[in-house]
Every structure is written in structure tokens, then in C-alpha cells.
């Protein structure tokens, strides 16, 4: 059984369905499993060396996260994205992040701010070569996750986690396809996010909201161009 013996210091004991969920999520985000691909419980169970129980549980969770789509009696497939999805995701993100930064202004502790600063400084320490799409998108989402954590709003955080998975799923892929966007975007990443910390610390709620809105909208603009070119990600019926 493929249990990782000693991973990070985890709060609650890891259980098989957790392992399966995380592995599957990684596989989807890294596009090892292409969008539209069918996932049979039996096949996956055999491949991962566990029974179907934990697999079913993992698939249900990923369905909730929007990374797979389960149809009754028909099974699961990896979710695929079109421009409508992008519009939905980013409009949700705007609404949620505005709420998040509002609550963060009220509730953020100094350790919350410190956590955000550390992510920022981690980014600044990266060399140009280390700033791969994969790594930057990871740090980007980590930063925003820290923002949501600073809001101290349980339901908001859970909702963000769902959205984050979906964003992650197409962000790595999208960015890695576009060299020139990265050229203009990467240098601005640091200063851009430094503003977040500042407005939260000073509790400038209305300015904070504006900052977030602009930020998310620029993010959408970068991503959207990709999904106009690629008209309809035709559902490919993938064979194993």
C-alpha cells in the first residue's frame, strides 16, 4: 500500500481516501490526466492498489471541487474548461476576494500579515529561472489563500478552496503556453501583492476593495485571451 510514511507534520491522521484525493488532484492539475478523460473506479483502484471505497470518496470530493464531473450510473471524467467557465470562475473570485479583504481588514492578526509577507519574500528570492509558470502560479494561489485565511471566515475559506482548485487546474497550463505575458507580468507580481498587505494593515477597506477588483480583473484579462483562441475544447473520448 502506497502510504507515505512520514510526510509533513499533519494535524489529523492521513487516511487512504486523502492520499487518493491528493494524488488525483495533482494528476489533474498537472494535466497528467487530460480534460474529458474518463476515470473508471475499478481501473484507478487497481492502479493505486486500494479498493473502490476510497476511490469513490476521492472522486466525490473532486466532483465537489469541480475538477471531475460525476454522472449517475455513468461515472466520472476529468472536467474540461471553456470561456464560459472562465467567466464564471473569475466573477465568483471577484465577489469572494472583495469580501475576503474586507473581513481581513477587520480580523487579520499580525501573524496573518507575516504569513503573507513571507510568501512575498519567497517569491522575491526566486531567480529568473526559478520563476516557472508552475512555481509562480503555486505561490500566487498560496498568497491569495493566505489572504482568505486572514479573513477568518470559515465558509468563505471553504468556498475559496473549491475555486482555487479550478483556477489552479487551468492556470499552470495556460501560463506555460504564453511566454510574452509572463515577461510583462512576472516583474510586477511582487509590488502588486505588496499593496495588498499594506491596505490590510492600514485597514483601508474601500481602497482594499478597489485593489482586489483591479487585480482579479487583470488576471481574467490575461487568462481570457487563451480561451478565445481555443474555441471549443472538444470533449475527447479518451481511451486508456
Amino acid at each position: 500500500m502506497a502510504l507515505k510514511p512520514l510526510g509533513l507534520g499533519l494535524a489529523s491522521r492521513r487516511v487512504l481516501s486523502d492520499v487518493v484525493t491528493d494524488d488525483l488532484r495533482d494528476a489533474i492539475i498537472s494535466h497528467d490526466l487530460e480534460p474529458g478523460r474518463r476515470i473508471a473506479e475499478d481501473e484507478l483502484a487497481l492502479q493505486m492498489g486500494v479498493s473502490r471505497g476510497p476511490i469513490r470518496e476521492a472522486l466525490m470530493r473532486l466532483d465537489r471541487e469541480g475538477l471531475v464531473t460525476i454522472e449517475r450510473h455513468k461515472g466520472a471524467r476529468v472536467a474540461s474548461w471553456n470561456d464560459t467557465d472562465i467567466q464564471e470562475i473569475y466573477s465568483m473570485r471577484s465577489a469572494l476576494e472583495v469580501l475576503a479583504i474586507e473581513w481581513a481588514c477587520k480580523n487579520a492578526t499580525s501573524s496573518d500579515l507575516k504569513a503573507m509577507e513571507e510568501i512575498l519574500s519567497t517569491y522575491n528570492k526566486l531567480s529568473e529561472k526559478q520563476r516557472t509558470p508552475r512555481e509562480v502560479s503555486r505561490l500566487d494561489l498560496e498568497f491569495h489563500t493566505a489572504l482568505f485565511a486572514a479573513a477568518h471566515h470559515e465558509r468563505l475559506f471553504k468556498t475559496w478552496e473549491v475555486l482555487r482548485s479550478q483556477i489552479h487546474a487551468f492556470l499552470v497550463y495556460t501560463w506555460s503556453q504564453d511566454g510574452k505575458i509572463n515577461k510583462v507580468f512576472l516583474p510586477k507580481w511582487g509590488p502588486d501583492h505588496a499593496v495588498f498587505i499594506e491596505v490590510i494593515r492600514n485597514k483601508q477597506i474601500s481602497k482594499a476593495k478597489e485593489t482586489v477588483l483591479g487585480h482579479v480583473e487583470r488576471g481574467l484579462a490575461r487568462v481570457a485571451t487563451h480561451f478565445i483562441e481555443e474555441p471549443k475544447p472538444k470533449k475527447k473520448v479518451a481511451k486508456r
Copy 2:
């Protein structure tokens, strides 16, 4: 096996875990299962005449909906509410409904508007006696669900469904405890919601947003008073 042979005309075939989920949800919302109550899989399985599989699935879904809380190796209990929860829920609701009505202004079809009007007229046809807290809260949530449907925003709708369950879970209970609030609230319900339909039809986005914001905030004010009196819903360790 306790399958309801012919329920409503359902789109996809109902499966055991669906039945269990719906029954359990109803039981929680109607307070047949009091907040904090322990739910053992075996016990429930025996009681409903199904095996633990569907039960587990149902509990996981209701955990996602926020109606039960699952702790690893410790099982599930019915969620309980305090004033912090109320603040979280209503702040989320504001953000979501503003987004919803914005999208509804852009995307609502005439049949969407008709659906909302019909709920309104159903309400108006109710006699005073029929306007029980249970019935009114059901219609209220149905109306707002119609609003979210009119937005034609899949992810927004799913997020609303989660929130709706939670609201429903304490709304029936809260309202049924307070006679005088209903006296001033019920007569205004109809006109209040009629405005929604009007601003959507005329696509008055900014006015629509204001309308929604005020509406939700008044809702919060009504509910919040209840949770100030009742300081801490002590976790009662309920025996069966």
C-alpha cells in the same frame, strides 16, 4: 428496501444515497434531529434499512452543505449555530446575491421572470393562517433560488445551494419562535420581492444591487436578534 416508488417527476433516477440525503436533510431542517446530536452510521443504517455505504455518502454531502460536521474516526454530528455563523452566512449571502442579481439582469429569460412571479403569486394567494413560518420560509428560499437560477451561473448556483441549506436550517426554527416579527414582516414580503422582478426586467443593475443589499441586511437584522439572546448553544451530548 424503503424506496419511494413514485415521487415527483424526477430528471435522473433516484438512488439510495439520494433518498438518505434528502430524508436526513429534512430531519435536520425540521429539528427532528437537534443540533449537536451524534449520528452513528450503523444506527442510521439500521433505522433506514440500508447499508452503511449510502449513509456515508449522504453524511459526506451534508457535511459539505454544512448541516453536519464529520470528524475523522469520531463520526458525524448535527451542526449547531452561533452568532458568528450567522454573521458569516449573511455576509456570504450578500456577496452572492449581489453577483446573482447582476448576472440575472444580463441573462434572465422571460421564463425565469415568470417563475419568480409565480412564486410571488403563490404567496399572495395564501390566507393568513397558511402563512406559517415553515411555509413562508420555504417560499422565501424558493424565490431566492429562482433568482439564482435566473443568473445562469452554474458555480454561483451550487454555492447558493450550500448556503440555502444552512439558512433553512435555522430560519424555520428562528421564525417560529417570534410572533411579533412575523406580524410586521409578512405583509411586506410580497411588495418587497416584487421589486426584485421589476429591476431585473428593466436591467437596472445598480438599483438591483442596492435592493438586494438592503433586503439581505434586513433579513440579518431579523435573525440576529435571536442569536444574541441565546448566547452559546452549548453542545449537548445527546443520548439516543
